[in-house]
Structures are given as structure tokens and as C-alpha cells.
């Protein structure tokens, strides 16, 4: 561990490489986390199937590329197909659990995640899949720092999607309806908003964002049917830190988490990377509950 730490100081470009790559990885987490924050805030559902939606998005790009579609065109395709898949999932399962106890929705989405894992395994096999976007990498500082173009693209896209989402929620009619529904579904219904449609659109939008994240993941790394959980955990973590109503905080938390965990993986060893994410989450939750308790005691 100490040699790893000293390595960072001995070779400053290495430190730069680790942090930069972490930020780029974080962009993909942020993309998946936007959707989770939306669904959590609007439908009051913790979407445990989030990671599986990401993996499905990756498979769609993979299959499209097998059929001769250029990898980059797979990105909007994954989003579009996943939008429809999200709508279907909402109509089949999610609308039944929207008003229920949060525990029921967690169980339902957890069940969905197992179903999708097994279906993906049955259809695509357990092999590790990857798509080569052939975009290459950018090297600088004597080749010590590598930035893969796909990850850069993910970064730009995550920022772009964040801005678009912010604009959409603020200005667009449906975006305003989504915000109104999130604030008070009953009042929104009374004012003539078709909340069921808003819920469906929100969930489908979430799936579309996951589809884009998955498409980037399969181009930047690899996917296999059981890869969903790490994405679910990170999205959850990002939303816990950023809160459900703030697009800017989600991207900041996503990038921060990516950089932090990459540094932790480098210094502590990769085997502790996920442990670090969990530990961080526990610390943040404890800190939050202490802060909340203090606020409560002021009020009393």
C-alpha cells in the first residue's frame, strides 16, 4: 500500500492518469445516476434494476454492431430501444408498485434485476462481450497518461445529458409536469396532469439514460450478464450523496466518486475498490443522520 502511495509521488504523471481516468469513469456512473435520481424523486422508487438496464443497453449496442451498425450509432439506438423497454417495464411492473411501501418496490425491482440477468444469460450467454469503437486513445506526457477517446466521449455526453436534463425539467412542458408530480402527485392529478403518463415517461427516460451509459460501457470496457450490481451500487451511492433533486450535484458526485474510487483502488489495491465505495457510503449516511438529528434538536 505504501509503495503504491509513493509511486504516485515518484511518478506524478501516474497520479494524473489515475485521477483523470477516475473522472472519466465517474461520468458513466453519473449518466446512470441521473436516471436513478429521477425515478427516486418522482416515483419514490429505489430502482434496484438500474445496473441491469445499463447492461441491457450495452448488449443492444453489441448486437447492433454484430449486424453491421457502426458502434457510435449504437449509442442513440441503445437509448431509443431502452426508452421503449423502460416504458414496457413500467406498464408491466412498476405502475403496480408506485404508491406502495418502498420495501415492495425494492423487492419488485430486485426481482426484475434477477429476471433480466438470467434472460441476458440465456440469450447472450455468459461470455464477456465488448465492442471496439476504433476511436483509439490520446497519449501525452511521454505516453504515461492515456485518455481513451470513448471515455472522453462519455464525459462530454454525461455533461451534455446533464445540461439537457436540467433544461428539460425546467422549461419543457413534460419536464414541468414531472417536477409537479414529484412535488405532489395528488395535486398534480387535480390540476389535470396525467400522472400515470408522467411516471411512465420518467421511467422510460431513466432507461434511456441507462442505455446510453451501457452503450459507452461496452465500448470502453466489457459487459457480461452479471455486471449490473456494481452500476446499481454506484448509482445509489451517487444519489445518496447528491440528493434526488439536483442534476448538478449528481454529476459532481459521480465524477468525485469515480476519481476517489480509482485513487483508492490504486493505493489500497483493486480488491478494496468496492469495499471503499461501501465504506464511503456508510460514512456519508452516518454523517447525514448525525446532521439530521442535530437539525431536529434545534427545531425542538
Amino acid at each position: 500500500m505504501l509503495d503504491n502511495l509513493s509511486l504516485l509521488f515518484e511518478f506524478p504523471p501516474v497520479a494524473l492518469d489515475v485521477v483523470l481516468n477516475g473522472l472519466l469513469i465517474g461520468a458513466i456512473f453519473a449518466l446512470a445516476a441521473y436516471g436513478m435520481a429521477l425515478v427516486w424523486g418522482v416515483l419514490n422508487i429505489v430502482n434496484v434494476v438500474q445496473g441491469e438496464l445499463v447492461v441491457l443497453g450495452g448488449y443492444i449496442t453489441f448486437v447492433a454492431v454484430q449486424w453491421g451498425v457502426p458502434p457510435l450509432a449504437g449509442l442513440p439506438l441503445s437509448s431509443a430501444v431502452m426508452f421503449c423497454v423502460g416504458w414496457l417495464i413500467y406498464k408491466a411492473v412498476i405502475f403496480r408498485v408506485v404508491d406502495r411501501d418502498i420495501f415492495i418496490s425494492i423487492l419488485a425491482t430486485f426481482g426484475l434485476s434477477i429476471l433480466i440477468q438470467q434472460l441476458a444469460n440465456a440469450v447472450f450467454g455468459s461470455d464477456v462481450r465488448t465492442v471496439d469503437a476504433d476511436l483509439g486513445s490520446i497519449y501525452f506526457l511521454d505516453g504515461m497518461v492515456t485518455l481513451s477517446v470513448v471515455k472522453l466521449l462519455a464525459f462530454v455526453l454525461a455533461l451534455g445529458a446533464g445540461a439537457a436534463l436540467w433544461f428539460f425539467l425546467g422549461k419543457a412542458r413534460l419536464g414541468q409536469a414531472i417536477r409537479a408530480t414529484a412535488q405532489n402527485p395528488r395535486a398534480a392529478r387535480i390540476l389535470g396532469i396525467d400522472t400515470d403518463r408522467v411516471f411512465a415517461a420518467t421511467y422510460a427516460l431513466n432507461a434511456a439514460l441507462c442505455g446510453a451509459a451501457g452503450s459507452l460501457a461496452v465500448m470502453a470496457w466489457t459487459i457480461h450478464p452479471y455486471l449490473g450490481l456494481p452500476y446499481t451500487i454506484r448509482s445509489f451511492m451517487v444519489v445518496v450523496v447528491a440528493g434526488v433533486g439536483n442534476v448538478g450535484a449528481v454529476i459532481a458526485a459521480g465524477l468525485g466518486l469515480g476519481a476517489l474510487e480509482n485513487v483508492a483502488g490504486f493505493v489500497l489495491g483493486v480488491e478494496f475498490q468496492i469495499a471503499f465505495v461501501f465504506a464511503l457510503m456508510v460514512v456519508i449516511l452516518v454523517w447525514r443522520s448525525i446532521r439530521a438529528a442535530r437539525k431536529r434538536s434545534y427545531l425542538e
Partner: protein, 403 residues
């Protein structure tokens, strides 16, 4: 009406009686719980294909002769869903409910480890072909036999090769990354022994998590420290990620050795990025082994490909060999009594297309070496051991800027 019924009944009796007298051969039931769903489903399918192919050929060649009666081999399969608990449960069911007296192994060391106590309890001999963890053979199991080389042997060849190529092996610096699972940690243990023997220095020693999705932390270290040898083992996804990210990050190491690159199909999927990589494997279709049933190793590969429409992976080859070992033991035992068969198994000393098979007292096959491929011009070329080498080792790997 009644006469019609009697007539039908008579006909049925005649038909069945006729069938019974026409078929004089008996049936030996072998049982196997293999992973047809879950994370091992592709390798589980290879295992099943291997078993099926051997059983088919043995039956076509007249079956197994035990005493003076011949028997057909039949295999009962269950899907263990890649989970150890389910595997153990299914084996119990095979033995208790289906009356199976002989078992073929599952896929992976973890599942074999879960099943072995059960077969041991009932005294049911098991010949397995896909559980190579060293720990399996340290528990004193009497009914467990494995046709493959143990895991600790996998990458030792690469360390030996590196030592042989360099004048002073003690100056060599090694970077390694192994997944944190029994298989890969066994590989690490074996490699470490040889590293210590040669006095080499370990500069990176990472444990990769099972949910591994990014190897850049390890590779960045390797890039900064410039080791002479890089060893990575993390099943299919480890091999795929290593090849992909080494090319992405332009990590220059003179020698890189991996496990599972053939089952991950790195040469097919990554093309030029996979060149020069060394891959440890149990078997290769170019090896000069042969037997009476399948012919040579390449005959086996051709037959397998014609039957299943994909290249024969070593997981299938070793599975076929396991069935051959059973057939051979049945014939030598001259009876189907489990303990007699177990004793016959322990005396096994045979040549197969998969390699020589001879068990030591712990049940592992000690007479077959592991091989190293190198990916050369998109092909898997055997470069080690020397007596089987098809091509010269290409070493050192040129830096990315010159490739």
C-alpha cells in the same frame, strides 16, 4: 371389444418382449451436474458437449465390455445453475433418487469442492475434468480423480521461460494480478514458488475483485514500473480486459502471460492487440497425443467442430477424456461394483488424445504437462513445452510504438 383389447395387449407384450430380446447390452448410468445456466453456462456447455461426444463414440464402437457383457453409457444431467449449494443438492439426488453409482464432475473448482464431500460420503467414484484447484487434492478424498493438471501449474511455464531467456533470472522483475478466487489464487501460489526459486522480484501483486470491470489501476502501475514479466489470471473477463486495456494504455512489457485467453477468444476478438500474448492451457489440438477411440488430438478437434460448429476448447477435450477414463476403468475392473471401479481408477495408466493420464494417491493427474500458446498472426501457436512446440517463441514483445 374385449378381444380387441386382448389383441392390443398381446401386441404390446410382443413388441416389448421383442425389443428386450433384441437389446442384449446393459446400460451404465453416469450422473453429472453441470452449469447450463448461470455464470459458468458457456464452459458448462463445453463440459457437457465433451461428455456427450465421448459417450456417443464409445457407444458407437460397441459400448463398454465389463466381464463378458457390453454396456452402453448413458449420462443423466442436471443443471446446477453455477451455484455450489445447488450442485451438492443435485448430486445427492443423482445418487439417492436416480441410483447413479458413478459421477462425472461439474465445471469449475468451486463446484467440484462442493460436490466432493457428497460423493465421498456415499463412496461414489467421481472422475472430474474441470476442477483443478490444488486444495481439492489436499483433503484426502479417495473417490475423486481429476484428468487435468492442477491449477498451480498453469503459469509456471511462463516463469520458467522468462528465466531461461534471461542471463540472470534474479534480476527479473515480475508484475502480477490475480483474481481473488480459489482458481486464480492457486495459480498465484504456484507462480510465487518458482519466482522465489529463481530469486526474481515481485513489483506489483494485485488481487482483482470478482466483479472486476476495469484493470487500469494495475496496468498503470505496470506502466510506471516496467516489469520484465506480467502475469494475469482472472477467468475470461480478466483475459479480455487485460488484452484490451494493455493496448488502450500502451503498456509495454516484454512478456505477458494469461490464463483463459482461448476460452475468452482474445485472438479472434481483439486481433492485433492480442499478438505476442502467452496463454496457459490444459490442451491444444496441435499436440501429438492420440488414442484408439478419437485418433489424434487434431482428429478430436475436427470431430468436435463438425458436431458442435465451434472450435474445440480444452474444457471439452478434458471432459471427453474423463468419460474415456471411466470406460477404461470399468473394463479393467470387470465389475460395476463402485469400490472395485474406484480401485481400477486409481491404477489408471493410459494414453488419450488429451494426453497421458495417471493418478497419484491424491487423485490428480501427474503425467500431463500444461502448455503455453503464443498468439502469433492471429493464431494460437504452441511454444512450450519445447517437444510440442509448433513455432518459435516471439520475444521480447516490441513496444506499442513499433507495432
Amino acid at each position: 371389444m374385449r378381444s380387441v383389447v386382448t389383441g392390443l395387449a398381446l401386441l404390446l407384450v410382443a413388441a416389448f418382449g421383442g425389443a428386450a430380446s433384441a437389446e442384449e447390452t446393459g446400460v451404465i448410468k453416469l450422473g453429472a451436474a453441470v452449469s447450463l445456466t448461470g455464470k459458468y453456462s458457456s464452459n458448462g456447455q463445453f463440459t457437457k458437449n465433451g461428455y456427450d461426444l465421448a459417450a456417443k463414440l464409445i457407444n458407437e464402437a460397441g459400448g463398454v465390455k465389463v466381464g463378458d457383457k457390453s454396456y452402453r453409457i448413458e449420462i443423466i444431467y442436471y443443471d446446477d445453475e453455477s451455484t455450489p449449494a445447488r450442485g451438492a443438492q443435485l448430486v445427492e439426488r443423482l445418487i439417492q433418487q436416480d441410483g447413479v453409482k458413478f459421477l462425472l464432475g461439474p465445471y469449475s473448482s468451486g463446484l467440484t469442492e462442493a460436490i466432493a464431500p457428497v460423493t465421498e460420503k456415499y463412496g461414489v467414484p467421481m472422475v472430474e475434468a474441470n476442477g483443478a484447484a490444488v486444495s481439492l487434492f489436499r483433503k484426502g478424498y479417495r473417490y475423486l480423480f481429476a484428468v487435468l493438471s492442477t491449477t498451480d501449474q498453469y503459469l509456471r511455464a511462463a516463469v520458467d521461460l522468462a528465466a531461461a531467456l534471461n542471463e540472470d533470472p534474479s534480476k527479473l522483475r515480475v508484475a502480477m494480478a490475480f483474481e481473488n478466487d480459489p482458481f486464480s489464487q492457486d495459480v498465484r501460489e504456484g507462480v510465487l514458488e518458482d519466482i522465489v526459486k529463481h530469486g526474481m522480484k515481485v513489483v506489483v501483486d494485485d488481487k482483482l475483485p470478482p466483479e472486476l470491470n476495469d484493470m487500469s489501476a494495475t496496468l498503470t502501475k505496470a506502466k510506471a514500473l516496467r516489469p520484465d514479466l506480467l502475469l494475469i489470471s482472472g477467468h475470461d473477463k480478466g483475459a479480455a480486459l487485460a488484452v484490451r486495456q494493455m493496448a488502450d494504455q500502451r503498456v509495454n512489457v516484454p512478456m505477458v502471460a494469461l490464463t483463459h485467453c482461448d476460452s475468452a477468444q482474445v485472438a479472434e476478438k481483439f486481433g492485433a492487440a492480442a499478438e505476442y500474448v502467452l496463454c496457459a492451457a490444459q490442451w491444444a489440438s496441435t499436440l501429438k497425443y492420440e488414442d484408439a477411440l478419437f485418433g489424434s488430438a487434431s482428429d478430436y478437434a475436427a470431430l468436435y467442430e463438425a458436431t458442435y460448429n465451434h472450435v474445440a476448447p480444452y474444457q471439452a477435450a478434458e471432459s471427453s477424456a474423463a468419460v474415456q477414463v471411466f470406460a477404461d476403468a470399468f473394463e479393467r475392473a470387470g465389475t460395476l461394483e463402485p469400490d472395485a471401479v474406484r480401485d481400477a481408477l486409481s491404477q489408471t495408466d493410459m494414453q488419450t488424445f488429451y494426453g497421458p493420464i495417471k493418478f497419484d494417491e491424491t487423485g490428480k493427474n501427474v503425467s500431463k504437462p500444461t502448455v503455453l500458446f503464443q498468439i502469433q498472426d492471429g493464431k494460437y501457436v504452441v511454444v512450450y513445452p519445447r517437444e510440442f512446440a509448433e513455432g518459435e517463441l516471439r520475444w521480447p514483445t516490441p513496444p506499442w510504438s513499433e507495432r
